[in-house]
């Protein structure tokens, strides 16, 4: 059977499964809609959290990024897993004990202030929208790549599917569909990895295969380092970023992870405090499966790529090379007229993307109009590493189709979780808690469903017309969460003396500082600047760490200069520190 047919079958089957679950798990009350009734088992919640967390970016882009970054790619691996330790130890149990629906709920009550609640709602909305736009785009790309439909049609299909299961089931429907999506995506990620590991190293487990010997008795990583040095790249295992910058980016990603509202809200759905801790453990275990496999895939595909294309005659390259060239993700320009592909360090083109002139060269290659004068002749888009991997390794068609179904599952599950946070922020934190407190449960549920619909439409619009700053903005989401939420929540639990003046001042200064730095160095506003002008050599991606420290210092200083929080708030803090008597999640 052809790849095309296999893809339709596997994607169709997985969709049927998601719909079935959505209909089975319809939500009847706001509690079911917001936190799945607070009755999800820790393992199921762990799986849902993992699916929620692992987005199209984790599934499709991360291994490719690492494959081009080598050691520097570790910032994603440690940054996007280490945050769960902070969540499990410092946040999840206490927020579960607190027992409300949302993060702004906690901030609003702990800091006895609607201003604090509003600041938190705004942060939650900014973070979630920037994220969800990227996911919708991801759905569109996967659809267009594998099912040969237009990208925009792909986005529309994705919107409809997410809408159906989020609209019907709320958190309950989303949680159980995400359990299914986790199974699909992890299976789809592991199968090609295992196949390739066996092919290259004879080892079934990719995590071990990565450190094993290849044919000829050399260790795979040593071989890759040697290939890199030979072609003028830095050693794969060494990297190029400064130690401080790696440190700062890793910390910003970790803390940002622990501060993301769509991750935190997960821990409101389990019955007890001890389940919240355990659930974070399961979530990280299930995430770690993908995150320890990704660096192995990165090494395999990097080695495969270099060995296949370097100094190979264009007329002899395998079929996949020309397929991806046709989709615009690979470009070759024969600068020295020898008909062979020279792949070396440095960019092969002017600008970021190849401009195809529309003509074919003497070997049938697509000509480009923007080559530069460096020796490197090859442009490879990072995203193809995971998508093309099964083809590069000559795996059967059903494996290629499986990767498509997995990519779609990853994008859909994350989009659904984010949309729910957005709708909750609007219907619960804004309408119920601020604008119209007398609203009935039915009315609130209706408001939640309407806002999910509006959110899907807006997200879909951004998916079809992606703003140019999307890539910059995703990094901003982590920095913002690190600079705003995280200190306010941690101090709210661990510092009884922290008051509203301190927390609000900290959140606002942290957020503005982060926004300023990102706009200056990512979007060229306020005079712009190059990496030479970075403060203390910190990249914008790592600046969340600096902004977070500033937030903490300001919060603590301001709180000590103003009056202590009222008695009932101090009692709330004492109460959340004790795990017993969590009861059910409450709206009041």
């Amino acid at each position: 059977m052809s790849v095309q047919l296999w893809t339709w079958i596997l994607v169709g089957l997985s969709f049927a499964l998601y719909f079935g679950i959505a209909i089975w798990a319809r939500a009847g009350s706001t509690k079911e809609f917001y936190v799945a009734g607070g009755g999800v088992s820790p393992l199921a919640n762990g799986m849902a959290t993992a699916a929620d967390w692992m987005s199209a970016a984790s599934f499709i882009s991360m291994a490719g990024l690492i494959s081009f970054m080598g050691y520097d790619g570790s910032v994603f691996l440690m940054g996007w897993t280490g945050g769960y330790v902070l969540l499990a130890l410092l946040l999840a149990p206490y927020l579960r004990k607190f027992g409300k629906f949302t993060v702004p709920d906690f901030i609003g009550d702990r800091y006895y202030s609607n201003t604090a609640r509003t600041v938190a709602v705004i942060c939650a909305l900014i973070v979630s929208f920037t994220y969800v736009a990227g996911q919708m785009r991801g759905v569109g790309i996967v659809f267009s790549q594998f099912l040969q439909v237009d990208i925009n049609l792909g986005v529309l299909i994705g919107m409809t599917v997410v809408l159906i299961f989020a609209f019907l089931g709320g958190m309950k429907g989303i949680t159980y569909t995400q359990v299914a999506q986790y199974c699909v995506l992890i299976f789809a990620f592991m199968v090609p990895a295992v196949f390739i590991s066996i092919q290259m190293t004879g080892n079934v487990i990719p995590q071990i295969g990565m450190g094993s010997k290849v044919e000829g008795g050399m260790y795979l990583l040593d071989k890759l380092d040697a290939l890199h040095t030979e072609l003028g790249f830095n050693e794969y295992t060494s990297g190029t970023k400064s130690t401080w910058d790696v440190f700062a980016i890793t910390l910003a990603l970790m803390v940002g992870t622990a501060g993301l509202p769509h991750v935190i809200v997960r821990f409101f759905t389990v019955p007890k405090v001890k389940d919240a801790r355990k659930s974070a453990g399961y979530a990280l275990l299930l995430i770690a499966v993908l995150y320890t496999t990704a660096p192995a895939i990165a090494v395999f595909s990097r080695t495969n790529l270099i060995e296949t294309v370097s100094n190979t005659n264009y007329t002899e390259v395998p079929e996949w090379f020309k397929n991806w060239e046709n989709t615009g993700l690979i470009a070759w320009n024969d600068k020295n007229d020898d008909g062979k592909i020279q792949y070396m360090a440095g960019s092969a083109i002017e600008g970021k993307k190849p401009n195809y002139s529309g003509d074919r060269g003497e070997y049938g290659q697509r000509l480009i109009s923007n080559p530069n004068d460096k020796a490197n002749e090859l442009y490879v888009d990072r995203d193809i590493m995971v998508l093309a991997n099964p083809e590069i390794a000559n795996l059967p068609n059903w494996v290629i189709a499986l990767v498509a179904a997995g990519g779609i599952a990853a994008a859909l599950s994350t989009a659904a979780g984010l949309l729910l946070v957005i709708s909750t922020s609007v219907s619960h934190d804004l309408i119920k808690k601020q604008l119209k407190p007398e609203i009935s449960e039915k009315g609130e549920l209706r408001a939640a469903r309407i806002s999910i619909f509006v959110a899907v439409v807006i997200a879909g619009y951004f998916g079809i017309n992606p703003p140019g700053f999307v890539a910059a903005v995703v990094a901003l989401a982590f920095g913002l969460a690190a600079a705003s939420f995280f200190p306010a929540i941690i101090l709210g639990i661990f510092d009884k003396r922290m008051n509203k003046e301190g927390a609000i001042a900290g959140m606002i200064v942290g957020m503005l500082l982060m926004l300023f730095y990102m706009m200056k160095f990512k979007l060229d506003m306020f005079g712009g600047g190059t990496s030479e002008d970075w403060w203390f050599g910190t990249s914008p991606e790592g600046f969340g760490t600096v902004a977070m420290v500033v937030n903490v210092v300001i919060s603590v200083t301001v709180s000590r200069l103003t009056s202590a929080p009222p008695q009932h708030v101090q009692e709330i803090v004492e109460n959340i520190r004790i795990p017993s008597g969590a009861g059910e999640a409450q709206s009041h």
Binding site: Y84, V85, L89, Q207, G211, K274, R277, A288, S580
Partner: protein, 86 residues
């Protein structure tokens, strides 16, 4: 301070002690072994891995998972000891 409050604050102190120890390990494996002392550790090898590189791309993640489950066990015991389990 009432007896109940003393009881609760003793529980909290033990919890914070566990947190400090576990977070110290969390910091050492990732920021220590994987980043700050990576170059020194890279002179050692674990199979085909340079050790610092292994910590950064594999080892720290395994330790993170273990840390959470150790914390779950410690806290379940502590809850029982103080009668806060349910």
């Amino acid at each position: 301070m009432s007896d109940k409050q003393k009881h609760a604050s003793a529980y909290w102190k033990e919890n914070v002690r566990y947190l400090s120890i576990l977070l110290a390990i969390w910091f050492i494996v990732s920021y220590g072994c994987g980043i700050l002392f990576k170059d020194a550790l890279n002179t050692f090898k674990l199979g085909g891995f340079k050790l610092g590189f292994w910590f950064a791309q594999q080892g720290s993640i395994y330790v993170f998972v273990i840390l959470i489950f150790v914390y779950v066990r410690l806290m379940n015991k502590l809850d029982k000891k103080y009668g806060f389990d349910e």
